[in-house]
Each structure stands twice: as structure tokens, then as C-alpha cells.
Symmetry: C2
Subunit: 217 residues, 2 copies
């Protein structure tokens, strides 16, 4: 397992290059914590950005959907695509409007999709997607039937060119602003889970992985 | 003010069309609640999806950044772009893996950027961006100086073609699965703010809009 994904001209962060990271542990940790990825594809010169569930494999990201969806239909053709995951960690309030910012961690991945046709690989990718969203879940729910498998398209995207960009910490005001009588600091933000709501007619006990549900590692 | 944005072939939701909405109040509410938009542009045939802060204007969305950034440089040329905002509301656990889903609200907007050159319009757009992130904040912080204004590119994107897609509520299992001994229901998720963390040396009192900070309306 390589410690790095490729760094190329295309995925090299230019602005605020000090916030850029290219190492695999950093990139993988962001991909693991996110729930929704934003996938960009082009059709007739028009970019489309569509939110999707996903999962991180060994060196690929798996996405799934209906074979009839425009996105999956486009992705499985192997066209150039971009997959972005963004985690918002806080709002940075500076003394000057100009230095207001956001604490965030994002990954931008460039690649091409590959249709997953092999039955075992497809089952495993779908299992990974369920596990990505709720660790521990895949052993509980009924697995896909053959018609359900056929009604699901899975596309694997090799993580070839990827970069992360991270901002963290307090505001950075200009020296001459630091004594302004303006509150400055950070509002921490995080995706939080509330109490699980059982479905009508559900009599099964709450599984152990649910009350403890959280995204961060 | 029109109640609708345009519905065209390009922004008409095809899959799960019952989840689609085209009315302006629904779309505007999602744009107001989001913090980060994912902007898609194309360069040399390659789509890029980049997270940005933004604000909703009267009929435009404003984004900003460095004039040196690749994204802003591309957007101000008026190329076709896509702006997507996604809110994650919950994880939907069904009795079958196939019917697992996500509760979410998303907006996908197609359009072209317009460089904001007029000084007053630019100041107002920047004020809107600060207000979008923290309502009440723009009156407190020091406004932009002339060099800061010059070091900030603002692009307005007219909301022409836009659609929203929403899933909410409990899982929808097949009838024959409803008696399976599997817990089913929803884990509600929301972006939550924690206690504000003052910057080192900050002596100003905490403003009233901060302890009450939340994203949902």
C-alpha cells in the first residue's frame, strides 16, 4: 500500500498551497469520514455536480445507483470525472471581514469510472457502501436479491490523482486589526446524530452500533 | 419575484422524479441553509468540483475567492458551470440493504458566471456572503479595504435552471421484508454548532448571534 496518491499538475493545489496534502492517510481519513461525495461529470460541455453515497475500497472509490440514472450511465462509460468530499469543521470569525474563513477538510479526486460487472466484486462494493454509511450494518440487513443486484449499477473509480486541502485553527488577522473591539474566534461545526427513530412496526431491538453512531473516527 | 426558476430538459430530475421540486421557496430555503456549495467547471475536458462559500442574492448566487484561483478565473469567463448544495438530514436504515437510503435536500443549479466589477455591488455581495455564514456578523467586523477588495474576486451566477431533490421520512421496505427481525428506521443527522472558541487575545464580549448559532431556519 503506497503512502501517496499521484501528484500531478492537474491536482496540485495552487491557492493556499500550505493547506494542501497529498499523503494517503490524510486523504483516506477524509473519504472515510464523509457520507456524501459530489461527483462531477460533463455532458454536452455542461458540468453536472451530483451528490452520491460512496465507499472507499483498497485503492478505489465505489459509487452506486440505478442503471437508468444519467450519472451512473455517464460514469460507466469511463469519461473524465471528479469526486469531491468536503467536511465542514467550523466557521472562522476574524476581526476583519476579509479574514473570515472556514475550517474544513476536502478531497478532490480525478479519475475515470469502471463498471463493476463481476458479481462478487459488486456484492462486496455494495457491502462496503452500507458499511461506510453505518459500520456494523451490513451483517444485519437482508442482502441484495438477484433482481436487486441487476437494478443496481456499481462504478469503481480508481484513486489516481487526489489531493486534500485543510484549514484548521483560529483566525489569522492582520497585526493592525488585532486590537479591534470585535469578537474573533471559531464556531466549531460537526455533523451530529440524534436519537434513532424506529420505523412503524419495527419490533427488532436497537443494534449496538446505533446509539453510538458518529461520523468522526 | 417569480415563484419558479426555469425547468428545462437539462435540469429536470429523471430518476425518482417524485423527489424533485422546482419551486423557488424550496430551492431558496436549501440554498440559505447550506454553508458550502460544490461548484463544477470544466477545463480541458476534465470536470473539477471545488467547495466554496456562497450567498443567495435576489436572483443570483454569489461566490468569491482570490482572483488568482483557478476556479474564480474560470468562472469569471462565463463558462458553463454547475453549483450544487447538499444537506444531509438522516440515514435511512431499511430491513433490506437495497432499500437503505439517505434523507437529504439538494439543489443543482446550472448557469454561467458574471464577474462583479461594480464596487457597490461587490461590497454588497461580500456582505451577503458574511451574513450567509453568520447572520448579524457583517455589522461587527471591519469591512474590506481597497487592497482587500482588489484581492477578492466576486462572481455572480444567475439562477436560471435549478432543481431541488428531497428525500425524507422512514424507510420503504418491500412488503415481504417488513417482518424481518432487523431494526429499521432513521438516524437523524444535522450540522450542529458547539460552543464558540475565542481567539487568543480576544477581549470583546461574545456577540448575541453566536451562542444561538444554528444553520436550519
Amino acid at each position: 500500500m503506497s503512502l501517496y496518491y499521484n501528484k500531478t499538475r492537474r491536482n496540485t493545489v495552487q491557492r493556499r498551497a500550505g493547506r494542501a496534502r497529498y499523503d494517503r492517510p490524510t486523504i483516506d481519513a477524509i473519504l472515510k469520514e464523509g457520507i456524501v461525495a459530489q461527483v462531477g461529470v460533463v455532458a454536452d460541455g455542461q458540468p453536472y455536480v451530483i451528490p452520491v453515497l460512496y465507499a472507499l475500497g483498497e485503492r478505489e472509490v465505489f459509487v452506486h445507483g440505478s442503471p437508468l440514472s444519467r450519472l451512473l450511465g455517464t460514469l460507466r462509460e469511463g469519461v473524465p470525472m471528479c469526486l469531491t468530499v468536503t467536511l465542514v469543521d467550523g466557521i472562522v470569525l476574524a476581526r476583519s471581514a476579509f479574514h473570515h474563513s472556514l475550517n474544513y477538510r476536502s478531497v478532490v479526486m480525478l479519475g475515470t469510472g469502471r463498471q463493476v460487472r463481476d458479481r462478487e466484486e459488486k456484492l462486496e462494493a455494495l457491502r462496503l457502501i452500507v458499511e461506510h454509511v453505518v459500520p456494523g450494518r451490513s451483517g444485519d440487513s437482508r442482502g441484495p436479491s438477484e433482481p436487486e443486484l441487476e437494478a443496481t449499477e456499481v462504478v469503481a473509480i480508481e484513486i489516481d490523482e487526489a489531493s486534500a486541502k485543510i484549514r484548521s485553527g483560529p483566525p489569522v488577522d492582520a497585526a493592525e486589526d488585532r486590537d479591534l473591539p470585535v469578537w474573533a474566534g471559531v464556531i466549531p461545526l460537526a455533523m451530529q446524530a440524534d436519537q434513532p427513530i424506529p420505523d412503524k412496526g419495527c419490533v427488532a431491538p436497537l443494534p449496538a452500533y446505533l446509539p453510538a453512531y458518529r461520523r468522526a473516527a
